[in-house]
């Protein structure tokens, strides 16, 4: 393990941003944290987490896939993907770090999504251990330890120092160029983890019970009459899906600029009325079916297809941001009542 006095953190950021982009959580004009490109003077946010998740850096809201230009009978293909550039993503929490494993299952399964893959290969993830979890946090329910976050490098921070632990080859390589880091013992980190774990034991959602959310109970859950009341006041907005670190659905559309057809993809939301619309009509005609889809996907379909890995990391963003305060924790509790 290595360490650095916090007074030198700008020196570290400067080194990390040499020759590549460095993203750190910084406060925006509304005082909320957002992954922002570091430049001299940008301060690290003290907030627990960013509003938009870290998935944005690997799976952006909108990206161009390819362009087409038609001249007579010739179709010219225009490469329009973003050039893959190396970057460092600093300050990712354990929940978001887990979300990359979930997204990898979707995008890196053969045939791999080359757009996503290029960003994953080019990005170095530096995580940051949590010390002040919020009442809305429940990552531990999914077996995540927020005091021991994954990533290419894991960091811990106290009032005086930053502790740095490389975990992967990429992480080692990044660390090798950082001469300001000094060797350090692990005592301070272990003591901090101990303290944080005491708080984790007090979190109100720590005992969320996922018993029965599996393939065996799929139809029973699908047909539960409780979806009606759970979904009845859903506004059908996309807030939960857009702030979610694991929501990965997208749409591919084409846009005629007049001189070229641009094929792009953009995030889509299963909560939207035109999602899954096809020529035969809309198989999910009301908000009940759309709402059910979102939670069945995360809690039943995804784990059934991925060795029990749930499509939720317990970051709590949907709990904080849903305009009507309906969320996955309420869904788990309401549907889970029948399972105990």
């Amino acid at each position: 393990m290595k360490k650095l006095p916090l007074s030198k953190i700008d020196e570290l950021f400067k080194a990390l941003s040499a020759g590549q982009k460095l993203y750190i959580p910084a406060d925006d004009a509304a005082g909320q944290a957002k992954f922002t490109v570091w430049q001299e003077g940008l301060a690290l946010s003290q907030k627990l987490n960013t509003v938009r998740s870290a998935k944005d850096l690997f799976f952006p809201q909108v990206e161009n896939l390819v362009g087409f230009k038609v001249t007579g009978k010739q179709i010219e293909l225009i490469e329009s993907r973003d050039p893959a550039e190396p970057f460092v993503l600093f300050g990712v929490r354990a929940c978001d770090a887990r979300s990359f494993d979930i997204l990898d299952k979707v995008f890196l399964a053969e045939p791999a999504d080359t757009y996503y893959k290029a960003r994953r290969e080019n990005g170095v993830v530096v995580t940051m251990a949590c010390t002040r979890p919020a009442e809305t946090c429940f990552c531990t329910v999914f077996g995540i330890d927020p005091t021991e976050p994954a990533g290419d490098v894991s960091c811990w921070m106290d009032g005086e120092s930053l502790y740095w632990q490389a975990n992967t080859e990429k992480g080692e390589k990044l660390t090798a160029g950082l001469s300001m880091l000094e060797d350090s013992g692990e005592e301070a980190v272990r003591a901090q983890q101990e303290k944080t774990r005491e708080i984790l034991g007090k979190l109100p959602l720590k005992d969320l019970n996922l018993k029965g959310f599996d393939g065996e109970h799929m139809m029973e859950l699908f047909q539960s009459p409780k979806w009606a009341s759970l979904s009845e006041s859903c506004l059908g907005c996309g807030t939960c899906t857009f702030v979610c670190p694991t929501c990965q659905c997208y749409d591919i559309e084409e846009f005629n600029t007049g001189s070229e057809v641009k094929r792009f993809r953009c995030w889509d939301s299963c909560m939207y009325s035109d999602f899954t619309k096809m020529s035969a009509g809309q198989p999910r005609p009301t908000q009940l079916e759309r709402f059910r889809q979102r939670f069945m996907h995360k809690l039943v379909y995804f784990p059934t297809n991925n060795d029990g890995m749930y499509g939720c990391v317990g970051c709590g963003r949907c709990l904080q941001k849903c305009p009507i305060s309906m969320n996955i924790a309420k869904v788990i509790k309401t549907l889970g009542e029948d399972k105990k």
Binding site: T136, D274, S325
Partner: protein, 325 residues
């Protein structure tokens, strides 16, 4: 207050005045109430909550609820009654199927403001005198209730319940709490400053559509932006101004029908002060067409949906404009 509302809801269900009740349902925490339909006295007893976190405006739900057969009771706060009446005026709610219980309100709180004031990990809040005491995972924290109010409540336009079948508590009055002060601040900026203010604020938009979907004035069956056949659907912005334009157009679309209920800003996950766009239009309408409050009555026509010979000449826009250079 909460007990009075619960008793009223139970009575209305028991004496068959209504078949169901729209209210706020208890959540996992003390603050995360969800709008809900209650069907039995037992459900009311168990989960109905009215508190400083009952901010959600229930009016828009009545468009659908009033069409589901039977009669529905709704608890509306003063500002909610303006939205309700505006929707009645637009023939969106079937009045005969709704029983409105008007409830007086001292302002509702914004949990995100409470958390931002240093109450992270908050597990309970109690009122003590004029202040709030928050219990958190990290100890107790005190703050004034004023600092915890939703932006719209801090400059509440009216304690008057403009429509109800029954009133719980006292009728109140319209009031001037300076809700245009923030607009005036923007008006005092140079056009460049104002432009950069809005570009900055709107740049945070993630186009989740929460503002549109919660807005009682946005009640089209199918929004043009959701219709793949409209040619106007924009799931992805073609340039960095497109989301900005969405909000500007939406504000125009609801101008003179917007009651200033403030739901758009309450639900914005990115804390964009969207209500300021609407409020600017309200202020302009007041100045150009005479004072007008959408939803305040059933008789008057919204100025932008009416024509009179005294209407402002379009050239007034040029005269009022900022930089003519």
């Amino acid at each position: 207050m909460q007990q009075g509302l619960k008793e009223k809801a139970i009575q209305l269900l028991k004496d068959k005045t209504v078949d169901r009740v729209v209210g706020w349902k208890a959540g996992e925490f003390f603050y995360d109430l969800t709008p809900a339909v209650f069907h039995t006295p037992e459900e009311i007893e168990k989960d109905f909550v009215f508190s400083v976190f009952s901010g959600a405006n229930l009016s828009k739900y009545l468009i659908a609820e009033s069409r589901k057969g039977g009669k529905v009771a709704a608890f509306l706060k003063p500002c909610d009654t303006y939205s309700f009446q505006q929707l009645l005026k637009e023939h969106r709610i079937l009045r005969e199927n709704v029983y409105v219980v008007g409830v007086q309100c001292d302002g509702t709180c914004d949990i995100e403001k409470i958390k931002a004031a240093g109450c992270d990990g908050v597990t309970a809040v109690r009122e003590e005198g004029d202040g709030l005491v928050a219990e958190t995972l990290y100890g107790e924290h005190r703050m004034s209730k004023k600092d915890a109010l939703l932006d719209r409540c801090a400059v509440c336009k009216s304690h008057k319940l403009v429509v109800y079948d029954e009133l719980l508590g006292e009728q109140g009055e319209e009031q001037d709490a300076g809700r245009f002060a923030e607009v005036e601040k923007l008006e005092r900026m140079t056009p460049e400053e104002r432009y950069s203010f809005w570009r900055g604020e709107l740049s945070r938009c993630i186009r989740c559509n929460a503002c549109r979907n919660v807005c009682p004035a946005c009640s089209c069956e199918k929004c043009i932006f959701d219709n793949p056949d409209s040619g106007a659907r924009n799931k992805a912005a073609a340039d960095s101004f497109e989301e900005n334009m969405f909000h500007i157009i939406r504000a125009f679309h609801v101008a003179s029908r917007c009651t200033d209920c403030g739901e758009c800003s309450r639900v914005c996950p990115q804390h964009i002060p969207l209500h300021l766009l609407n409020r600017k239009f309200i202020k302009d309408i007041d100045e150009l067409y005479g004072e007008y409050q959408a939803g305040a009555d059933m008789d008057t026509k919204p100025p932008l949906m009416d024509f009179t010979k005294g209407d402002a000449d379009p050239s007034v826009v040029y005269e009022r404009g900022g930089d003519k250079a």
